[in-house]
């Protein structure tokens, strides 16, 4: 379990004059669930794009299984064992749900071994797993948003990945659906698939992650166990603003003072 699967080392990405990511480094252990969080525009999706080979980093590199992702063409990244979902879902609109998933099963890591029929059988299994069997023959363009998110997950799973990147698959789901999604992700993880989860829902990410990385303005500001990371002052500042962070510090100072005073003052006589 301790063996690192994915190494992200000093990754920097620039869009024009703006560094969308600068010097981001961390490693993801095999079998882990890594939560990637940060405010809007902090570079989460950019990092997903770098890991999945869609963007080439200006500095640094992402390594997986001894290979630099930047050296691998986008269409071969999934053959290495890395699959992703898109935050803005990209279904093949004119194909039905089953065909959408089958395309992944045809061209993914095990795709060359599968016949068309075998790919459709695999698609049926996966649709069952993500609870889409009920709309298997409906065109992707006719699916609801939660179902399109499920379809993204099923398409990614059809690639038989070792590492699965999930970009906000729970956004827009209601509380029950989030629970179902979390349950699905846990089951996927139990099969030994490493997960990297980008999500805004703090509760969801804390409950599922074994480790959390926080990005703000393109930099990594914290990394560690969920509870520690969320208590860190930098993270509070990044999420809630410096005024809130200062007030939080003041409140803590007042609280500390109160405790100190209480300790000095002898307990009131009963």
């Amino acid at each position: 379990m301790s063996e690192a699967a994915l190494h992200i080392e000093g990754v920097g990405v620039r869009f024009g004059g703006l560094w969308a990511l600068s010097d981001v480094s961390f490693a993801v252990e095999r079998g882990a669930v890594l939560g990637l969080i940060g405010p809007n525009g902090s570079g989460k999706t950019t990092l997903m794009n770098v890991i999945s080979g869609v963007y080439k980093p200006v500095t640094g590199e992402v390594r997986y299984g001894g290979r630099r992702i930047a050296d691998v063409p986008t269409h071969q990244v999934c053959h290495l064992g890395i699959a992703r979902t898109f935050q803005i879902v990209k279904p093949f609109a004119s194909l039905n749900a089953r065909e959408n998933v089958a395309v992944g099963a045809m061209y993914g890591r095990e795709g060359s071994k599968r016949s068309t029929r075998a790919a459709f059988e695999r698609a049926d299994e996966l649709l069952e797993i993500v609870d889409l069997a009920r709309v298997a023959y409906r065109r992707a363009s006719d699916l609801t948003i939660p179902d399109r998110k499920r379809l993204e997950v099923a398409k990614a799973l059809a690639l038989d990945p070792e590492v699965l990147l999930l970009d906000e698959v729970m956004a827009g789901l209601n509380a029950t659906e989030v629970e179902e999604a979390l349950d699905l992700l846990r089951r996927v993880n139990q099969r030994g698939i490493t997960l990297i989860v980008v999500e805004h829902l703090m509760k969801a990410i804390v409950s599922i992650s074994t480790c959390i990385v926080v990005l703000a303005e393109g930099r990594k500001i914290a990394e560690g166990a969920p509870a520690d990371v969320l208590a860190s002052p930098e993270v509070i500042e990044a999420y809630l603003g410096s005024r809130w962070a200062k007030r939080q510090q003041q409140l803590e100072a007042i609280e500390a003072e109160r405790r100190a005073v209480q300790q000095v003052r002898p307990p009131a006589p009963s």
Partner: protein, 334 residues
């Protein structure tokens, strides 16, 4: 079995989606079988008219693979037709009058040209790809017109069989059209077809799913080129003479596109239905309106595309096709 249950069963069998309406495909196969009877009329004119329909059908299927299934709108597919025609003509000039040899060389030469040109040009998307292919079509026509070895603007004579009705060319064209129809059907249902459609729907998402877009785009173009090249290789001896203005004609470039769109883009039945209706209508209009036929022809295309933007095949939709169509006329669609 009720109609709804049959439809559901067919969809489960993989029909109806990627191939288009199975009913329309059945109609096409029946029509093809009927077309076998044309030469029994022993009428050279009829053979000529229907051979033209089959020729346009083969070219339309060729265009449908890249333009319809893969979503790359090519304005240069006439080049493949021309290469096929000149392949047969050059063979004929060297004393080889074997139709099969001409078709084989025409198909291979067209496919090779599609691969060589496709690798750089298929990197372009949308309008840029369209304009680049149009440029290639014009350039190739000009080059051929200036090559003395290919007869320049005065063209080449091609040896013809000694047959008043040219039945052998009719059946050869019929075979090429049938191969294009069945080939499209098989490809559409295979892994290849799904790669094409995935690229059409979203090339980035297709790449993430492991589809090497360049490879499949070039494949689609090259297979389509073979269909047009084979049709050209039969046209050359059937016509007895070719020159750049015939083999690289604007009509031969635009008709297959119009036919595919009219019949149903990205379906197995669409190009054939479009070819029969457009080529047939063109023939009739030409007969009865010697001067104004292009006017009526153009108007007909405009009206059909406005009323049936998804093509005539859509009328074959198993699930309330007509009802949905009637509804779509009253609701505005961009």
């Amino acid at each position: 079995m009720t109609i709804a249950a049959t439809a559901a069963a067919l969809r489960r069998a993989g029909l109806g989606g990627i191939t288009g309406s199975p009913l329309a495909f059945a109609v096409v196969l029946v029509a093809m079988a009927l077309l076998l009877a044309v030469p029994f009329a022993h009428n050279g004119y009829l053979n000529n008219v229907f051979r033209n329909i089959l020729m346009y059908a083969a070219m339309a299927y060729g265009w449908n693979l890249i333009g319809g299934y893969t979503g790359y709108v090519s304005f240069g597919n006439v080049t493949f037709f021309g290469i096929g025609a000149y392949s047969a003509a050059v063979l004929s000039a060297h004393g080889i009058d074997n139709l099969a040899a001409g078709v084989a060389l025409g198909a291979i030469a067209s496919a090779a040209f599609a691969v060589v040109i496709g690798i750089p040009v298929l990197r372009l998307k949308g309008h840029y790809f369209g304009i680049a292919t149009l440029g290639i079509a014009l350039a190739v026509a000009d080059i051929v017109a200036n090559l003395d070895a290919l007869g320049g603007t005065s063209g080449l004579a091609v040896h013809q069989v000694d047959d008043a009705h040219f039945t052998v060319y009719y059946y050869a064209m019929w075979l090429v059209a049938l191969a294009a129809i069945l080939g499209t059907y098989v490809i559409a249902r295979s892994k290849l077809g799904y790669a094409f459609v995935a690229i059409r729907e979203n090339e980035d998402a297709a790449a993430v799913l492991g589809i090497w877009a360049t490879r499949y785009k070039v494949t689609a173009w090259a297979i389509g080129a073979m269909m047009a090249g084979a049709a050209g290789a039969i046209f050359a001896p059937a016509n007895g003479f070719i020159d750049p203005s015939i083999t690289f004609a604007t009509d031969a470039n635009v008709f297959p596109i119009a036919m595919t769109i009219l019949g149903g883009i990205g379906t197995v039945a669409g190009p054939f239905i479009g070819a029969v209706i457009l080529a047939g209508a063109n023939e009739l209009l030409q007969r009865y309106f010697v001067k104004a036929h292009t006017l009526f022809f153009g108007a007909m295309i405009v009206v059909i595309v406005l009323i049936l933007p998804r093509g005539l095949v859509w009328l074959f939709g198993l699930r309330g096709g007509l009802r949905t169509w009637a509804k779509s006329l009253t609701t505005y669609k961009a």
